[in-house]
């Protein structure tokens, strides 16, 4: 059937424009358009057009289709949607709501293109036509004002005037180096020569960059027009567009556009009757990143190996075949027609003092809205990532943003408050480059990122310069060593030294910038390097050379998770408990209250959801038969050494347990009447019943640990005088922090830690009917749910940030809300005043401002938004600090924590160690247990032992049942006590999985620890 020439949009009542960029084409955009054409014809819809455009730059939402003139923006269109679109919208005028764009953060549907923040916050100059015109139809370009600038230049301006205009506009090369475009043209213009060449660098090789591709696919004519204007300015009669072969669609569109331009007289001989001749040829790159470098690119056009050569002579004097040549990037050329049309003054008013105009960034990686973002230079980086990009998906924390491709650097959270331009990025140690911007979150390993970039540049090094060729290889080898557990601490400085040498000794930009990712990651993420080297730990759980299974790697105590889950799946929970007890003495406690960092890295979480590792732990613990004791080694003979442990919390008791098992005499001193620390007096009974905790503490006592309650320790000197050989301080952090507002010391205001402690110890606490809890951590949630059980009718949690930033476990927050608590977000206390037995809480509304170094946006008060609510009780749950008697005479750090060696937990005093909340600030039970383990190792070594605390308690695994193919399967729901039955008591809420649910859930595990490795 002959193709009908599509009527233009102006003639039609409605036109549907299907995106035909590479991304959408991969989603079957061609088939969608064909189906639409058939459907529209079949329905006999008059005045309805079907057309296509180039890349919108929002590929993640593709396939995209826009209906004009309404400007309705459809996303994720499939061929199956075509009949509905045609009938409901094109024929009946009713848009198809389920295909609207949905804001990835709020979920709100936004039907129109112009209302979508991703687009309306941009200033699209370079990308002005992309997604709006048909790139295979020159008439569309002309109608949008195309080739008018060329007409103006050839008709009214001399080459000098053109150069002057571009110079005054301040346009700087968008390929990355940022040199003044006008200045570069002038050099070539002034160079003597009978033949000059104009070259467009479309070899976009930076991984993560695709803006040049989009421009060429979506608006090839703007590049051609810009190139022709440039050729006129410098006096070139021949031009080359060098496109990488990996962009076949762009090649096709450019070749077609050239033919059409020639057809209309915009290229070729005597263009527009001006006497100026210019012809453009297309050359395809053949897969060499280094050919993005201008001298290598020219060598490639000449048919040679793409190896750079020294400059001078610069291409402007001697370039292609030794003739004066000028090379510009696609985006620089796409800007030229707009500068000519609107003038240098107009352009120079956009951007910053030294960086004029707009820049196109390819925002990719861990970001909700991934795509091309064009904004004025000087736009705040934080706004690009959060305002336009929509922030980090999946509730993950922002970690770094990598700019400038393999030549650039990684910027941490603390630096993203800056405006983005050439200078600010350079100052931070990165570069603008071609505009690639890859966002990374907590699941990205920065050492792996450095290794990744080095492997890329190493591969692409042309080999000419020894420092680049061999230097990058050496750096890569070192990084491979570090990521595989073979690194040494000296390697970090060696990497920096090599970086300097490679930069100094390389001829071209590839070698000169290849070390940048390494330099910036060491500068801003040195501790990750050190962790890899010293502790063989990859906190992102990425480096396969170090990580067997991400869950056990991330567990602070390194519990062998996959193994115990397999035992559960085989119906052997007692064996599972034995595996757990190989690493921790609190399986029930952790099975009920651990904040499960393991689950945040569980690979199953990338499919449907993470394995319920904590709940399975709890299940196993409930079905313990004591099997683990059968394999316990007999305790060795008494060593005669005595260890004093101050604090019977998870850190203290864990340390005591392991030290007693090694034969030392251990006494644990506990100031409170009951042992358990925060497990006993911080975590309420409905989460962790007392008898379960007591049973686990009894096992520790049975191992030889003596606990003396109601005994406060004031002096370390006394302990040593009494003959103890070593001391472990595990006193926790129980002192509530002040809110910091007037009136908080009055009656009616309680400290959260004290409140929870009093309730857990069985003392009577009255809270009244209306309670406010100030804070957003687990303690605040515990206080709220406790207050409800004490009879409060209205409990409000007041938190200064948003839900996404609340540190409390989301599960806990959910339960609190289910039980009737309400949460006021973005509200902070400003004043407290007693009034007739009640207490008035004055609060002020907050809004999120700039990012602080923790990677969270700082809340700022909104002037004049104060409001007051009366309560019976206000509970302050801001946080806790450790309390350390001055007589201890040990060094303290910020927040009153005990300063310790991060590896050994040794304090500033010989023989005294510290761990848990007392040394870290408020953290978690499992981290305290891990500290207890480390303390036992360090103290045993200090006392002359080997510090070997681990023993095998479970039998070796037999033959494993094969893993079933991963069908889509979610966690079984955890049975809980119905809400109506909860609030009259403190009974356990989470009832635990039954056998069937537990075995089913265990079988979802992907057994990452058994994965084949090289």
């Amino acid at each position: 059937m002959p193709k009908k020439k599509p009527a233009s949009q102006a003639d039609n009542k409605r036109t549907i424009l299907v995106c035909h960029g590479t991304g959408c084409v991969s989603g079957k955009a061609f088939e969608i358009r064909e189906a639409l054409e058939k459907e529209v014809a079949g329905l006999g819809l008059d005045g309805v057009g079907v057309d296509f455009t180039g890349c919108h730059g929002f590929c993640q939402q593709g396939p995209i289709a826009v209906v004009e003139p309404e400007g309705i923006f459809y996303t994720h269109v499939t061929v199956e949607d075509v009949p509905e679109i045609a009938q409901s919208h094109l024929r009946d005028g009713k848009p198809v709501a389920r295909l609207f764009y949905h804001d990835p953060v709020s979920g709100e549907a936004i039907p129109k293109y112009k209302d979508i923040p991703f687009y309306n916050k941009q200033q699209r100059i370079i990308l002005r036509n992309c997604g709006r015109i048909n790139p295979e139809r020159i008439e569309d370009y002309i109608k949008a004002g195309g080739y008018e600038s060329l007409r103006k230049v050839l008709g009214e301006m001399t080459p000098e005037q053109v150069i002057d205009e571009v110079k005054r506009s301040g346009l700087r090369g968008r390929g990355g180096a940022g040199f003044s475009t006008g200045q570069k043209w002038e050099f070539c213009f002034r160079a003597p020569g009978d033949q000059k060449y104009m070259i467009c660098n479309a070899d976009e090789g930076d991984p993560g960059a695709f803006m040049d591709r989009s421009t060429m696919e979506g608006d090839p004519h703007t590049v051609i027009e810009g190139m022709t204007i440039a050729a006129y300015a410098i006096g070139a009669s021949e031009g080359y567009i060098y496109i990488r072969a990996e962009y076949p669609l762009a090649v096709k569109r450019v070749i077609l556009a050239l033919k059409q331009a020639e057809g209309k007289g915009f290229l070729g001989e005597n263009i527009l009757g001006s006497g100026f001749n210019f012809r453009i040829h297309v050359k395809e790159g053949a897969g060499a990143f280094v050919c993005g470098e201008e001298t290598a690119l020219m060598a490639s056009i000449e048919g040679k190996r793409g190896m750079p050569r020294p400059r001078p002579p610069f291409p402007a004097q001697a370039g292609l075949w030794g003739k004066p040549s000028n090379i510009n990037n696609v985006k620089s050329l796409a800007t030229v027609p707009v500068i000519i049309a609107n003038g240098a003054e107009w352009y120079s008013q956009i951007g910053t003092e030294k960086s004029k105009g707009t820049a196109v960034f390819a925002l990719t990686g861990k970001i909700a809205n991934s795509g091309l973002v064009e904004v004025p230079m000087g736009y705040p980086l934080q706004e690009i990532i959060y305002g336009i990009g929509g922030g980090i998906p999946g509730g993950k924390k922002f970690k770094a943003v990598q700019t400038g491709g393999p030549s650039g650097g990684c910027l941490p959270a603390s630096l993203i408050n800056q405006p983005v331009d050439y200078e600010t990025l350079a100052q931070a140690g990165s570069i603008m480059g071609s505009g690639g911007m890859v966002v990374m979150d907590e699941d990205t390993c920065m050492v792996d990122v450095a290794r990744y970039f080095l492997s890329f540049t190493q591969d692409e090094s042309c080999g000419k310069c020894v420092p680049c060729r061999l230097g990058t290889k050496q750096m890569l080898d070192i990084l491979n060593d570090i990521t595989h557990g073979r690194g040494k601490l000296e390697d970090i400085d060696l990497l920096l030294k090599l970086s300097e040498q490679i930069k100094a000794g390389s001829l071209c930009g590839l070698g000169q910038t290849a070390p940048n990712p390494v330099i910036t990651t060491i500068r801003y993420f040195r501790d990750e390097y050190e962790e890899h080297i010293k502790k063989h730990h990859c906190r992102a759980a990425v480096c396969e050379g170090l990580v067997s299974a991400p869950c056990s790697h991330t567990c602070p105590a390194n519990i062998d998770v996959p193994r115990y889950i397999r035992f559960i799946g085989e119906g052997k929970p007692a064996e599972a408990v034995a595996v757990i007890r190989e690493k921790i003495p609190f399986p029930s406690v952790c099975g009920l209250v651990c904040f499960h960092p393991c689950e945040s890295k569980c690979r199953r979480g990338q499919l449907e959801e993470a394995i319920a590792i904590r709940m399975l732990k709890g299940y196993a613990a409930r079905h313990d038969t004591g099997l683990w004791k059968e394999n316990l080694k007999k305790a060795p003979p008494a060593t005669g050494k005595r260890v004093a442990i101050v604090g019977a919390g998870p850190a203290g008791l864990t340390a005591g347990y392991y030290l007693a098992r090694l034969g030392h005499s251990v006494i644990v001193f506990e100031a409170l009447p009951e042992p358990g620390g925060m497990m006993r007096v911080g975590i309420p009974d409905y989460r962790l019943p007392k008898d379960i905790l007591r049973a686990e503490i009894k096992e520790i006592e049975d191992a030889g640990v003596e606990i003396r309650t109601n005994t406060r320790v004031d002096s370390l000197d006394e302990l040593f005088k009494e003959g103890y050989n070593a001391v472990f301080l595990a006193t926790g952090a129980h002192q509530g922090m002040k809110i910091g507002v007037k009136g908080e010391s009055g009656s009616g205001v309680m400290d959260c830690a004290e409140f929870l402690r009093e309730v857990s110890l069985g003392r009577k606490v009255e809270v009244g009917d209306k309670v406010a809890v100030i804070g957003g951590g687990n303690a605040a949630i515990d206080a709220a749910r406790t207050a409800l059980r004490l009879g409060a009718k209205e409990v409000t949690i007041v938190y200064r940030r948003t839900q996404a930033e609340m540190p409390a476990n989301p599960e806990e927050v959910e339960e609190a809300i289910a039980e009737g608590a309400s949460i006021d977000y973005l509200v902070a206390p400003s004043r407290i005043k007693g009034r007739n037995g009640m207490v008035d809480l004055e609060t002020i509304r907050m809004e999120l401002g700039e990012m602080d170094s923790s990677g969270r946006r700082r809340p700022e008060p909104i002037e004049g938004s104060q409001f007051t609510t009366g309560y019976n009780t206000i509970i302050a749950a801001i946080g806790q600090r450790p309390e350390v008697p001055e007589r201890f005479n040990i060094s303290l750090g910020r927040g009153n924590i005990i300063e310790v060696d991060p590896d050994t937990l040794a304090t500033s005093r010989e023989g005294v160690y510290a761990g848990g909340d007392a040394a870290s600030g408020p953290a978690s039970v499992i981290e305290a247990i891990a500290a207890g383990r480390q303390a036992a190792i360090s103290i045993d070594k200090y006392l002359g032992g080997k510090g070997e605390i681990d023993e095998t308690l479970a039998l070796p695994e037999g033959e494993l049942a094969p893993l079933e193919e991963a069908e889509e399967q979610w966690r079984p729901k955890m049975p809980t006590v119905p809400v109506e039955k909860r609030l009259s008591n403190f009974g356990q809420v989470e009832l635990g999985y039954d056998d069937k649910a537990a075995i089913e859930e265990a079988k979802r595990c992907l057994r990452c620890d058994l994965e084949e490795r090289e």
Binding site: G23, E284, G303, G306, T364, S370, M440
Partner: protein, 158 residues
Amino acid sequence: MPAEPDVTRELAEILSRYSGASSDLIPILQEAQGKFGYLPEEVMQRVAKFLRLTDNMVYGVSTFYAQFSFVPTGRNKITVCRGTACHVRGGARILREIERRLGIKPGESTEDMEYSLETVACIGACALAPTMRVGNETYGQMTTKKVAEVFGAKEKAS
């Protein structure tokens, strides 16, 4: 292993469209790569003669660029992207899954010459990371599950 292609006739057709300027070396090799799926030694020798270059020079240029292959490639070329965005979104797993499924590593082809596997630094569809190409089709937002779907479907079709 397929029989050596009829180099003479097919190559002559390609060369007929070029003037013999040495700067045409790369476009000629690109066409030959497209036609034969790789660069047989005989092709390189004939091209050298045509352009009045030494075999050495042609070999030097063709080995510089990643686009050229010197062993026959499969009917379907699989290109897995190892660009930054794809890497950060788990591209390495996709590559490993394909390696496991087909039993080949990058640079190799399957026994039946149905597939050959290679990686590329960036396909340019970064917003759809992780991506791969099979023949002329681009696949975005890849998961290990989708690998099974793509190759399962192809197996059914063949």
